[in-house]
Symmetry: C2
Subunit: 458 residues, 2 copies
């Protein structure tokens, strides 16, 4: 450790309570990374700071600015893009102990939270008021709202209820130099000045440290109907998505499960899905219209070669829960990579065909689950370590092709996971030099010393 | 006109088709302002440019940068905050002739539009595909999508469907120096880089000129049920809003009409509303759940002293249309000012009581309509020109009080109209010096010469 870093740590010791500054090797190790798989191994941070008060975060940032030491803020570290990987000398600011729900205002339909509150815990707390927090990333049982805000997290029910941005009304942000600002508003509507709350949302810890959020809540649906539909082929399942849309039905959840994923579910849960058809849709209808929407879906497919789950059975609900954990909570490894593109919905079949061709060419396995209601696709590529020449090279090429093809179709390199480190090289494939430069300029305004999660996001 | 301005106009003549550069006095006059009422009279712009192609906008901005001449971009000019008022030497860039719907992609649920497309025209065009564009400012029959984007326009059905930002996926923006950039994505989800589309949305023409937008569409509701509820008092009507929320009903429209506004409607439409009660709620339920939601509302108020419109009658629908035009399309004048705060929903009764006290103290009239589903209130204050001492001073004090009280309650100075010129002095009441400074810095990055609608918005 350099003398400067040692001096910085000395000063941190002076301004923080003893328990907030952690040097324990196992804690350093746990805080060196998220779930993202990267060729380069993360290193241990200089120290981990676990603040419990906003003022502590401000003190840390004042000193970080004074000494020019990078700060990586994080929550549970469930991200999959390497957004909190430590690759150079830095401290980690772990916000998971700032986990108080400060206020729930049922009649205002808002909650005020610290960044370390677990997504699921907020939902549990507000349910008794007939309210919910809508965005539901696969990690919702573990991930923090601060992390959700940092990545503008998505989830299954975003097509109906919006992504994290649509639930973030106001943010308190500690800036690089330790100043505390409040952006946004407490109300659903508000157009005073530029939309700085949206600017910080999804900025992956590169513009400031979110220490408090005013969150919009939604009504907990009075009714919920789940339905599964098994189609002979993927093409017919995708066509089914269009038929549901043309009936103007807005499911809360609409997931497309391909045949390979049905086989994975069969292995994990001893089901027999893969024998029943070529692809599956899982739909959740909710709210006052749930029953009528379920009926409408049954009408749409009544005369078609589709196996629809019987009314009132629990099967579809179980399948949705199985699907939730079939990929989202599974860590990738060197030989398996899950992707996260979004494409215009009409291109779905063409996209899958081109991915299948790519997988065949590179001799890798491909399976795919999709938040098909909003065109957000998660193809997973894998290869056996001992299978032929350069398996990792083939895997890498297949993954890159999946991203390039999505872009050719007018899509994006990341629907909901964030750029982090892993997708940074791809960002110039999607965005022009001028747009990249503008983002670097904004970063420069807010973080002139480049100490906030440097090298990530943009 | 200065020599520099004359030289600038000469160069514009060289790079624009003849019909795109207008000097006609009546056109200059029409383009000098929007509907906003300001003590200072707007002046005529140096010229009005009416481009039909993106490249023309780029040429204008290149020359504006070269000569340092301010550019005020505008659409229909239906804004009420003076956002496009001309107060110093400037040209006006009127985008209303860039009004092509470039593409409708029903299966992708998007439309690609030029900025001059009228909100209502887009809705008409997409209706045949079973789709709609959700944000519906009162001016929707006249206002342009470019103007809607510039102000992040709201409307009646925002609580359910979101404001303009939630329907803007991607923007093409001509920067101050004439460069053209594309920000955002074509898909509902997408988190690559900072949310620049949100940054430009609502920036009131101060950061760039929007020349193309990718717009998210929603499903046209399969069903729609309107219902009116007349309450003995305003307090009971507001309590009724809470009862509807607690039944977890999300109306597409929920408007609160106070007694004074009922009287205005009576005068305009020869109705007899004001005799029937003290305040009114107008609700529109839509989608597959409309009928069940209507029934649920009837259940909620069955045992209460509330006059509910009979099922299947057309009265509530007519009232909603009457309400739409009862304020939104009415221009203010020197002696009548409509405000646009938003406050936490639970504070509604307290807010109205304090406003009534203020109106009494200042001897001005006050009436109020509200998008009560999202806490966005439009109190209107008026005074008779010949009524006592300093009527304008009293009016002004009452208006300022209404804004200060909203802020004391955690609200905002503008729910949906924008800051423009008229609310600029109030922005520091809501936002800290650091936040204002950050916005000025962002403005400085994108518009270093301060030629994009200078002096507005922030």
């Amino acid at each position: 450790m350099s003398n400067k870093q040692l001096a910085f740590l000395d000063r941190l010791t002076e301004v923080l309570p003893e328990e907030a500054l952690v040097h324990d090797e196992s804690v350093l190790s746990e805080n060196s990374r998220d779930f993202g798989q990267l060729a380069e191994e993360p290193i241990r941070p200089i120290a981990v700071v676990v603040p419990t008060e906003v003022e502590q975060v401000q003190r840390v940032m004042r000193l970080a600015t004074e000494f020019g030491v990078p700060v990586i803020s994080r929550g549970a570290g469930t991200g999959v893009s390497g957004g909190v990987h430590v690759l150079g000398p830095a401290i980690v600011l772990n916000l998971s102990k700032m986990n108080r729900i400060l206020e729930i205002r049922p009649d205002d339909e808002i909650a005020i939270v610290e960044p370390g509150v677990i997504n699921h815990d907020l939902n549990t707390a507000v349910a008794e008021f007939g309210l919910m927090y809508a965005p539901d990333p696969a990690s919702y049982k573990m991930s923090t709202l601060g992390g959700n805000v940092a990545t503008n997290a998505g989830g299954l029910r975003c097509a109906k209820y919006g992504v994290t941005r649509e639930s973030v009304l106001s943010l308190d942000v500690v800036l690089a130099d330790g100043r505390l600002i409040r952006v946004g508003k407490n109300t659903f509507k508000g157009v005073a000045g530029y939309d700085l709350a949206a600017l910080f949302t999804g900025s992956e810890g590169t513009l400031g440290i979110v220490v408090r959020a005013v969150i919009r809540l939604r009504y907990l649906p009075v009714d919920q109907r789940d339905i599964s539909l098994v189609f002979p082929s993927l093409e017919e399942a995708v066509h089914g998505v269009q038929l549901i849309a043309r009936a103007r039905i807005q499911p809360a959840i609409l997931e497309l499960v391909d045949h390979a994923t049905m086989q994975v579910l069969d292995e994990q849960y001893s089901t027999n899905l893969s024998a029943s058809g070529g692809a599956m849709l899982l739909a959740r209808l909710d709210g006052y219209g749930a029953l009528r929407e379920e009926d409408a879906i049954r009408d749409v497919f009544a005369e078609r070669d589709v196996e629809v789950s019987p009314s009132g059975s629990n099967g579809a609900t179980e399948l949705i829960e199985m699907r939730r954990t079939s990929r989202g909570d599974t860590k990738d490894d060197a030989y398996r990579t899950g992707e996260d593109v979004a494409i215009p919905k009409s291109k779905m079949v063409e996209y899958v065909h081109r991915l299948q061709a790519t997988a065949k060419q590179e001799r890798v396995d491909m399976r795919m689950i999709s938040h098909v209601g909003d065109g957000n696709l998660h193809p997973t590529f894998s290869v056996e370590p001992d299978d032929g020449d350069d398996p990792l090279g083939r895997l890498h090429r297949a993954v890159e092709s999946s991203v390039r093809i999505a872009l050719e179709m007018g899509g994006t390199i990341t629907g909901e996971h964030g750029v982090g480190l892993i997708k940074k090289d791809w960002l110039p494939w999607e965005q022009s030099a001028d747009v990249l430069e503008l983002q670097r300029s904004i970063k420069g305004l807010l973080d002139p010393l480049n100490i906030l999660n440097p090298g990530k996001g943009i």
